[in-house]
Every structure is written in structure tokens, then in C-alpha cells.
Amino acid sequence: MKFLSDKTVDRLRQNANLPDLSGTRYQLLERVACGGMGTVYAARDQTLDRRVALKVLDVLIADGDLARRLNREARALALLEHPGIVPVHDVGTLSDGRVFYTMKFVEGQRLDKYIETVTSLPDRLRLFLRICDAVAFAHARGVLHRDLKPANVMVGAFGEVLVMDWGLAKILREQSSGASDDDPEAAILHAQQASNGPADSTQATQVTGQGTVLGTPGYMSPEQARGDIAQVDKRSDIFSLGAVLRFLCVNPLTHSGQSKAWRQDKTLEAICAKATEIHPINRYATVSDLSADVSRYLDGLPVSARKETIFDKSARFYRRHTIAILLIVAYLAMRILLLIFSHR
């Protein structure tokens, strides 16, 4: 039997994962990226002669019901026409049973990479507001994301913010637990219970690995993590947005020590804390409420997440009107000096 070196094993693994697109309208071009749920390839849509992103998921489907549901989901997701949303064009199954879907090919950077170049807090917050716009739009049309995280946000070449992977986390969850059409949400509970079962050292890794499929630890709301399906709603996305906001605020900058100062900003921390409250009822009721608070913070106005003391109010008033206050103080100081000198 031929000995396979580590390099050969890796090569085999990669090549065996290449999707066989025969029988589809797509032609494989190159591998672009890989993540917890699957691998993204650049492909050419030969019918429409355009480049698309083709994501092959690490799940296998064999039953027709699920394939039909994937198509139905894809149709629903295609209705999300918003400049901040990358909708799914097509969903299908490879000959080996793996699920794939295609979407617009976005040239740009993932948010977690992109923000390394954004050194100003207000710029980062404005970026966050655009994510909120896209999510609020989807919520208004009854679509939840359920896997919001920096890796699912792309920033395009012209600074456009695009939220990816809509609704597919839900499909994956349902698939991984084999949930029925009648009870799609039950899947979350089953999958979570399955992942919480065994307890050896490998299992811990596996839970993390599986967690990537079921939601991303750190960005997944407690009710999702618990599998409390009755409570999973748009406030679960708000939790994830709060975690994204915290990531944007505390992710260290390479050149300045600003991140430490941001962590100490009580107002910003209060907004994050309210968005990521353990109990959904205590979070912002809508994404618009969250983005309104962030906007008010940017404008130096009071936010709903934090009750201000007089000192806070004064400090905020000073920050907002620094120049005017300094001018008035300078003017008053001059008047006092003039008064003193005129009396001599």
C-alpha cells in the first residue's frame, strides 16, 4: 500500500473536496476561501456568462424533501433586494450529495480583515449602522439571519457593506438534525442536544467544530445556544449584532491605543450590553432601536441604553459643544481680565 505523506493527504483532501459540477450550469474556476460551513469557489455561470461565488456546504442531503425546501428557501431569499444584502441566486445538490448554492461574486474583504484598516471609531460605527440597515430590512420581510458575525459581512471595493449567507444557517441546522418540514425549528434543539452529549477531550473540539455549523460561539444568542427554539426571533439577530458591535469596538488597532479607550466608554459598552442581554426581553426590541442608539451616540446625544448622571450629561454636553464652550470660556475670561484692568 502506498505511503501518503502529510502533503499528499492534504492534497487529496482538497482535491476530493473539489465539487463535481458536471450536470450544472456552472464551471469551476478556483477556490476562494474556506470556513466552518463549507468552501467558497469562484465559478462561471455558463448560462448567464457571469462570475459567481459558489459555496459547497459540508452537509450531505439525500432526501427530496430537503432539496425542495432548500429551493423554497432560496426563492424566499431571492426576494431580499437591498444594496446591503447578497442574496442567493441558486441552490442545488452535487452528484455526491453535497449541497451548494451560488450568489453574487463580491470582490472585497471580510469585515474582520477590513476593520484592521479602519482606525477611527466613528467610521467603524458608521459601518456597523449599514449592517444594521440590511438586517432591519430583512427583518421587515420576516427573514432572520441567525449567523451574523464579522466573517459573514463583506466590504466591497467601493466601501459597500454586504451581509452574506442569509437564511442558510437555518437550513443547515435543520439539515444537521434531520428536522421535518412540519417542524423546522425543532432541528435546532435536536442538534444542540446532540452536540452537548458526549464529553471527552475530542468532543470539546468537535462541539466547537459543530458549533460553527450550528451558529458561531461568541456571536450566537443564549437561546440559540440552549436550543430554546420558541425564543429564537429577531432579537437573536440583535444579540449577534451586539457582539459584532463589541468586536468592532474592542478589536485592537495596530497603530494606536484607542481600543482601550473605547472599552472604557461606558455608553458604548451599555449599548453592547443591552443588545447582548441574556434575556431577549431585555434587549433592544428592533434593530432600528439599536441603530438609533448608535446614531445618537455618534451625534453625542443621550442613548436609551444608559441612564445618565449629571456628571455624564455635563461631560457629554462638553464633548458635543467643546468649541463653543471653549470660546465662551475664553470670552468670559477676557471680559473678566478687562474688567479687572479697567478698575485699576
Partner: protein
């Protein structure tokens, strides 16, 4: 193409060893030994820092003990992966090696799988656990997993070679061997097309077929080596999805 799709219908070795059919039992055990003997041997050599002869005795002794003590029947898929369970069994066996050595003498040749220890020893040349250091449980698990994936892939490659031979697609296997099993970074479809005097599209199609079959065979073997569907999906993700994960 239903033939290419899941679910895999072959029995898990865990179910098969409980079968009343001795032929089925033997086949299951042979499948298990074929996939695990090399990882176990290399693990014993490196983790327990045992000399070649000791490691050979311990490897054979371990599988003999597995049969004698019916260790597979005690495995609970809900508690851990089969791979982890077996590794922990090896640890416990080696710690008890004197007793194990006696057992080896009684039943060490119970497997029908030829254990090519010199070859396994040769493969160890590039092994990466430093016996002088205190390895963490993670690094041990990682080492065992890496060897296990290597063993699984090697068996799948061998199955693919047989399949190609049966279907008179030897050239397809040679292309697969030259491209996917090669460490040569410079190899390209164009070069293979020139060497084999065939169009590049034929090379693409042949490799595509071979990879699909390789993947299917590897997953079938993997299914046999898992105790439950859930474990299979986790392991499939670890083996193939880890390209993505």
C-alpha cells in the same frame, strides 16, 4: 445519480461485530484492524516511546485484547468517538503491558490483516511527537487523528485502484496517482495531457471521476468505522470538512 448518494448502506463495524454471522464479524474486525493498526503502532512507538519490537508486540496484543475483552461491545457512541475510545484503550493497555504481553502470546495472531511493521516503521521517519517533551492530550489526539486519516485515505486509494482495475480504467488511476498522490507542485493538467497524449478535458473528466469515487469510497469506509450516524457526520466533517474547517 442515486448510486453516488448517501446514506451509506454498509454496516458499522460496531454493529457488525455483534452479528451472529462469523463471516460478518471477521470482515468487520478486518476492516477495523486495517484502518487502525498503523495509527496504533505509531502511537505506541511515539507516545509511549517503545522500541520497535515492543511496539509490534503491543500492537498485536492490543487487538488481541480487544477481541478477548470484547472492547468494541463496550463502546458507547454517545460518549465519545470510536477513534478516541480506541486511543484511550491503547493507553490503558500499554500501562498494563505485562499483562498485555501475556495476552499477546495467547491470541496475537487473531487478525487476518497482514501487519507490515517495517513499512510502518519507515513511515515514522518524519513523525512529529517529541518523545522528550510532555505531549498535551490535544497533540496526542491530533497525532492519532492524523495517522488515522492517513490510514483511511491509503485504504481508500487502494480500493480505488482495485475499482479502476475492475472497470478497466487503469489510466484514470495512473492520472490520479500522478496528480493527486504526487508531491510535485509543478504538475499540471496540461503536462499530464501531453504525457498521456490526450486532451486536457479528458484529464479533467478522469480526475473528476476518480476524486468523486475516492471520496465516496473513503466515506463508505468511514461510515463503517463509526458507531452512529452522528459520529459519522462529525468525522466526515473532520476528515473532508476540515479542508473547510
Amino acid at each position: 445519480m442515486p448510486g453516488d448518494q448517501f446514506p451509506i448502506t454498509r454496516w458499522s463495524v460496531i454493529d457488525a461485530v455483534k452479528s451472529e454471522d462469523p463471516a460478518e464479524q471477521t470482515r468487520a474486525l478486518d476492516t477495523l484492524f486495517a484502518a487502525y493498526w498503523k495509527p496504533v503502532y505509531k502511537y505506541v512507538r511515539l507516545r509511549w516511546n517503545r522500541p520497535t519490537e515492543d511496539a509490534q508486540d503491543l500492537t498485536q496484543g492490543f487487538f488481541a485484547e480487544m477481541l478477548e475483552r470484547d472492547l468494541l461491545a463496550k463502546y458507547d457512541p454517545a460518549k465519545s468517538r470510536l477513534r478516541t475510545y480506541l486511543r484511550l484503550c491503547v493507553d490503558s493497555f500499554v500501562m498494563n503491558q505485562e499483562k498485555a504481553a501475556r495476552r499477546q502470546k495467547r491470541g496475537g495472531n487473531a487478525t487476518h490483516v497482514a501487519l507490515d511493521f517495517p513499512a510502518a516503521e519507515g513511515e515514522l521517519a518524519g513523525a512529529t511527537i517529541d518523545p522528550a517533551s510532555i505531549p498535551s492530550p490535544e497533540s496526542l489526539e491530533e497525532f492519532f487523528e492524523r495517522e488515522w486519516v492517513r490510514s483511511l485515505f491509503a485504504l481508500a486509494v487502494e480500493d480505488l485502484r482495485k475499482l479502476c482495475s475492475e472497470r478497466e480504467r487503469e489510466r484514470t488511476f495512473r492520472l490520479f496517482d500522478d496528480y493527486d498522490l504526487s508531491d510535485d507542485e509543478e504538475i499540471s493538467y496540461e503536462r499530464l495531457a501531453a504525457e498521456y497524449a490526450m486532451p486536457v478535458t479528458d484529464v479533467t473528466n478522469a480526475l473528476s471521476w476518480a476524486r468523486r469515487e475516492f471520496r465516496r469510497i473513503a466515506l463508505e469506509r468511514l461510515r463503517e468505522l463509526c458507531g452512529s450516524d452522528e459520529e459519522f457526520h462529525r468525522e466526515a466533517h473532520a476528515v473532508f470538512g476540515s479542508d473547510a474547517a
